[in-house]
């Protein structure tokens, strides 16, 4: 199945803005992040505080819904999902 991944703000400094990825049925956000951190060297340290633990400010949205309120890293992927990786900015 095909999944569309979009990166925003400072995440764009370590990965492509937008990529399409293929996953087997049953894959989850965890597999997606494994694939991304393998592909982009600087991404792992940026988004993970420890293995399997996202940094607090990392927002991952599946079709506009934050996976934190779905099943976290175990949130399943579906065909044609749009996954957004979004670090909110804070300054004023």
């Amino acid at each position: 199945m095909k999944v569309h991944v979009k990166a925003f703000a400072t995440f764009r400094e370590v990965m492509d803005n937008q990529i399409d990825m293929d996953f087997p049925k049953g894959a989850s956000i965890r597999e997606l992040l494994d694939e991304l951190t393998g592909r982009y060297g600087g991404l792992g340290n940026l988004i993970f505080a420890a293995p399997d633990t996202l940094r607090d400010f990392v927002n991952i949205l599946k079709n506009g819904r934050n996976v934190y309120f779905l099943a976290g890293l175990d949130t399943p992927l579906d065909d044609e999902d749009v996954i957004a990786l979004f670090p909110p900015v804070a300054g004023g």
Binding site: K6, R12, D56, F57, N63, G64, P88, A90, G92
Partner: protein, 241 residues
């Protein structure tokens, strides 16, 4: 009714939204929280547009490091309170509007008291602790809250309109930690202007607000994106469950 002088002053924008639209802007009371990079940009353009009342809140004094982005202040203002200095600059620009400086931090005064008699709130704050206090109070008072934030070349805007759209806690459920954020003046300029554009749209009833999505600005690539946002069903501010 607008005076002859006001009709002349606003002639070029009356051509955009008519005398009725200009009067609506003049009758709109705008709260700007924070008189820093975003707040001073928003206040400047709001004063130029003719918002009738601008209440600007900030607890800080002007420092040298503010001058790369906080466009209401001059070198001679270093050491002065931001709110009062901003009010003088705005009044010099447009003497026909009311500007109310408030020397206070969000959270030290009852927040709803600052909002209740205003029509629209603009977020010029620099941390999410204060933003959530203000946004929650705006939600409870039923007032639109125009969120903005920046870092480096990046910025974001969302207009929170209760009770229809998701609240700020749904837009940013996992905020970044408090720290000294890298900022350049051009980014606060872009984002502050987008926030006032939203305020003008709300006041005049023009177009649709940025409300079911977060508008993201990328100054490196000169590109904007929309990130669709859904309400979190369990949200304690706006959730229905």
């Amino acid at each position: 009714m607008m005076s002859k002088e006001q009709k002349e002053r606003y002639r070029r924008q009356i051509a955009v939204f008519g005398e009725e639209g200009q009067e609506k802007i003049g009758n709109t009371r705008l709260l700007i929280a924070g008189a820093g990079g975003l707040g001073s940009t928003a206040a400047l353009f709001a004063a130029m547009a003719g918002f009738g009342t601008i209440r600007i809140i900030d607890p800080d004094y002007i420092e040298e490091t503010n001058l790369n982005r906080q466009l209401l202040y001059r070198e001679s203002d270093i050491g002065k309170p931001k709110g009062g200095t901003a009010a003088k600059a705005l009044h010099a620009l447009n003497s026909s509007i009311d500007v109310e400086p408030v020397f206070a931090a969000i959270g030290t005064a009852p927040v709803q008291d600052l909002i209740r008699d205003m029509d629209v709130v603009i977020d010029g704050l620099d941390n999410y602790l204060a933003r959530f206090l203000l946004a929650d109070a705006a939600w409870q008072c039923g007032k639109p809250f125009i969120h903005g934030a920046v870092e480096g070349f990046y910025g974001q805007v969302c207009t929170i309109i209760p009770p229809t759209f998701p609240c700020l806690r749904c837009v940013v459920p996992n905020p970044p930690p408090v720290r000294e954020t890298p900022i350049i003046g051009v980014t606060t300029g872009v984002i502050g202007c987008v926030q006032v554009t939203e305020a003008i749209k709300l006041a005049t009833g023009t177009g649709l607000p940025i409300s079911d999505h977060l508008w993201l600005w990328d100054g490196i690539r000169q590109k904007s994106d929309r990130l669709m946002i859904e309400r979190i069903p369990t949200c304690h501010v706006c959730g229905k469950d």
